[in-house]
């Protein structure tokens, strides 16, 4: 087995809810509740879940940008990054200390419209990381940007253009070029293709895979689209309401999901093939609870067909299942 590049250990992220006359803390949302993950060098880990399950929060916590973007956030646990100089816990690092590791961990965002600064040219956008992390000359940076743009399938001439002149897919390529510019070891990709047109999605997925083998990248691939995640990932982790409910080898989780939620999620994906029907789907009842009114015990029990009284008591731990993966449900 390859060496671990990043280990997330018992990560907990809570948001405070403020209220009352004096605006004191009246409660908290556990957006991420005791999650552990390992990403090996050069591998892709897919993180799947529906909106509000905390998958983006995990991604942002790993990049250590959560505290800077969300007010009132409390993080616990460890995010251990195995840098060239040995393992270091990223979570407690301040801005300055974190900067040393920023070049190694880069991020790609979901919305190609919001993630590029509309007032900057493509060149400025792509070379910002170079300016921050290297002391390369203007000319050297120029060359790097040009070759990067070509590598992601754009023209060097595009460097002087502004984001609004590009289509969604092209913009996402700019975002990828930006992430690549400082030779990261790990790229956190937060729903990188879900805002793209179907015919462009596959272009970007292929590009990400090519770049992975070319530069030896590791990905944390966050998405809600299981077929995409399955396609690109070596291992998959399934989240539901802030908890990890199943994790394991991509094929195993995808072919033989253990946790009832994983089963339902995979079953719900519509298949674009002739004769696919809705009849043999798992029909879930009820709505996803919001993190504010998260059920006690197993968070999925309110919609689960296997739910029994014990599920209310406590969250079941992840257990080894037949097909090799770990699932947080004792009844399967």
């Amino acid at each position: 087995m390859a060496s671990p590049l990043l280990e997330v250990k018992n990560l907990v992220v809570r948001y405070a809810i403020w209220g009352g006359i004096l605006r004191h803390k009246v409660g908290e949302i556990r957006a991420v509740d005791d999650i552990s993950l390992t990403i090996d060098a050069g591998e892709t880990v897919g993180l799947v879940g529906e909106s509000g399950c905390g998958k983006t929060t995990v991604a942002k916590a790993i990049c250590n940008i959560l505290k800077a973007t969300a007010p009132g956030v409390i993080e616990q646990g460890e995010v251990i990054f195995h840098s060239a100089n040995g393992p270091v816990n990223l979570l407690p690092l301040g801005r300055a200390e974190m900067r040393a590791h920023r070049a190694d961990i880069q991020m790609i965002f979901q919305d190609p419209f919001a993630s590029l600064n509309p007032r900057m040219t493509v060149r400025e956008i792509v070379e910002r990381p170079l300016i921050v992390h290297t002391d390369k000359s203007r000319k050297a940076r120029r060359q790097i940007v040009d070759s990067l743009l070509e590598r992601v399938g754009l023209q060097p001439a595009d460097a002087t253009r502004y984001p609004h002149e590009f289509s969604g897919g092209q913009r996402q390529r700019v975002g990828i070029a930006r992430a690549l510019s400082v030779h990261p070891k790990l790229i956190i990709a937060d729903e990188p293709v879900s805002a793209l047109d179907v015919s462009v999605q596959s272009q970007v997925i292929n590009l990400l895979r090519e770049l992975q083998s070319e530069f030896g990248l590791a990905y944390l691939f966050v998405a809600h689209d299981l077929s995409v995640v399955h396609h690109i990932s070596d291992r998959i982790a399934v989240m539901y309401l802030g908890n990890l409910v199943e994790t394991g080898d991509s094929e195993a989780v995808y072919r033989h999901p253990s946790h009832p939620y994983s089963q339902a999620l995979i079953s719900a994906v519509p298949h674009p093939v002739a004769g696919s029907s809705r009849e043999d789907r798992i029909k879930l009842t009820g709505e996803i609870p919001t993190p504010v009114n998260k059920p006690s015990g197993c968070p999925f029990r309110t919609r689960c067909w296997l739910a029994r009284e014990e599920c209310e008591q406590s969250l079941p731990p992840l257990q080894q299942k037949e097909s090799g993966q770990l699932a947080a449900c004792p009844w399967v």
Binding site: K60, C63, I65, A68, T69, P71, G72, R95, M98, R99, R102, A103, I105, Q106, M107, F109, Q110, D111, A114, S115, L116, N117, P118, R119, M120, T121, R128, P129, V132, H133, T160, R161, Y162, H164, E165, G168, G175, R178, A195, L196, D197
Partner: protein, 379 residues
């Protein structure tokens, strides 16, 4: 990415191949809005021209040739007063050996209009070139028949004020002062407002909570009271008024900018900048600020309008610019004493109206260029 309704905004379909930044695109759109664009051109030209006012409207001559020497009295005093350049401030009457009608030597500054007449009578080849309108802004025409304020006449098209000064000349000089004042206050006020708003919006949390209290307190201090009290104590001056008004005008900008920063901060390009490891200052100045300026730019013309109105109001109440400064409000103040002197109301208000109208046209066009309201009718 799923709606297939075409975007009508030309930003997504820039058809020409030259790359334009969002700001340039808006500039292009602004130039297409004819009324606003021409108002802008007109106002800027007027303002630029107003810096040559001492050569256009002045009781001092542009050029005097006397005994083979050339004198530039208007230029000399303009340079001296405004830029502290040159040695001569005014030329005395004796420089030109000017005498009064009875032949006695004239004391004090030369009277160039008289000088022009006497040179012409003498026919000695000496000459005086007067500005187009040969009256100064602070010059009292006490020899006019009747008592001031004089009604409009062929000599003084807009009449004179209660000290027999030419209204038209004072209005024109007042234009330059009003615009300069409004621009200065806007720049100073905006700078403060942008800094405070950016800090509150960017850092948020307790900085914002505490900062907002202070901004609210500041915003609730009645500005006119403070202006009047301070101006009457420290003595009114252009600088003091600028500082006081700027000190009050930044509050509203702060709210706008704070809101913009809050909104922009949550966008992913800022998250990307943080993930890149950019410092606070770079993020504020390079990343967020250029995107947060839109409401401020659209707001600026209207801020200038309200500042000009503020200045006129203060002058009207008698707490504005110090006394002989040519000012629109001061003329209105004179009119309040006697409302039958209509020309002291109509002309200053007309000047203010035309100026503000141009600024409002510009403002509307800027607003339109920055936020085109595509009014689509659904039925």
């Amino acid at each position: 990415m799923t709606s297939s309704t075409p975007k009508t905004d030309d930003e997504t379909h820039a058809s020409d191949h030259r790359s334009l930044s969002p700001l340039q695109l808006r500039g292009k759109r602004f130039r297409r809005l004819k009324r606003g664009y021409y108002s802008f051109v007109l106002l800027v030209s007027f303002y630029a021209l107003s810096f040559f006012l001492p050569l256009l409207m002045n009781h001092r001559a542009i050029l005097v040739q006397y005994n083979g020497n050339f004198y530039f009295p208007a230029m000399a005093s303009y340079l001296h007063d405004t830029f502290s350049l040159g040695q001569e401030k005014v030329y005395l009457a004796k420089t030109f050996d000017q005498t009064n009608r009875s032949g006695r030597p004239l004391f004090g500054e030369a009277n160039y209009r008289e000088l022009q007449l006497s040179f012409a009578e003498k026919g000695s080849g000496d000459f005086v070139i007067m500005p187009v309108i040969p009256y100064g802004p602070n010059e009292s025409f006490l020899d006019l028949p009747g008592t001031p304020p004089h009604s409009p006449s062929r000599i003084h098209w807009m009449g004179t004020d209660d000290r027999a000064r030419d209204v038209m000349v004072r209005l024109t000089y007042g234009f330059r002062i009003s615009i300069t004042f409004a621009l200065l206050v806007t720049v100073v006020g905006y700078t403060i407002g942008i800094v405070v708003g950016a800090v509150l919006g960017y850092f948020g949390r307790w900085v914002d909570i505490v900062g907002q209290r202070f901004v609210e307190i500041w915003g609730n201090i009645p500005f006119l009271y403070t202006v009047i009290i301070l101006a009457s104590i420290l003595g009114p001056s252009f600088g003091l008024l600028t500082i006081i008004l700027a000190g009050f005008s930044w509050v509203s900008i702060t709210y706008y900018l704070r809101g913009e920063f809050y909104r922009e901060k949550s966008k992913d390009y800022v998250a990307a900048a943080i993930a890149t490891g950019e410092g606070h200052l770079t993020i504020i100045l390079r990343h967020i600020l250029p995107n947060a300026l839109t409401p401020i730019i659209t707001f600026a013309p209207f801020a200038i309008v309200s500042l000009i109105i503020s200045l006129v109001s203060l002058d009207f109440l008698g707490y504005g610019l110090p006394a002989p400064t040519p000012s629109w409000g001061e003329l209105l103040k004179q009119a309040k004493v006697n409302l039958r002197v209509w020309h002291l109301v109509v002309f200053p208000l007309g000047a203010m109206f035309v100026t503000l109208q141009l600024v409002v046209f510009i403002g509307e066009a800027v607003r339109e260029a920055f936020d085109p309201k595509v009014q689509s009718r659904l039925r």
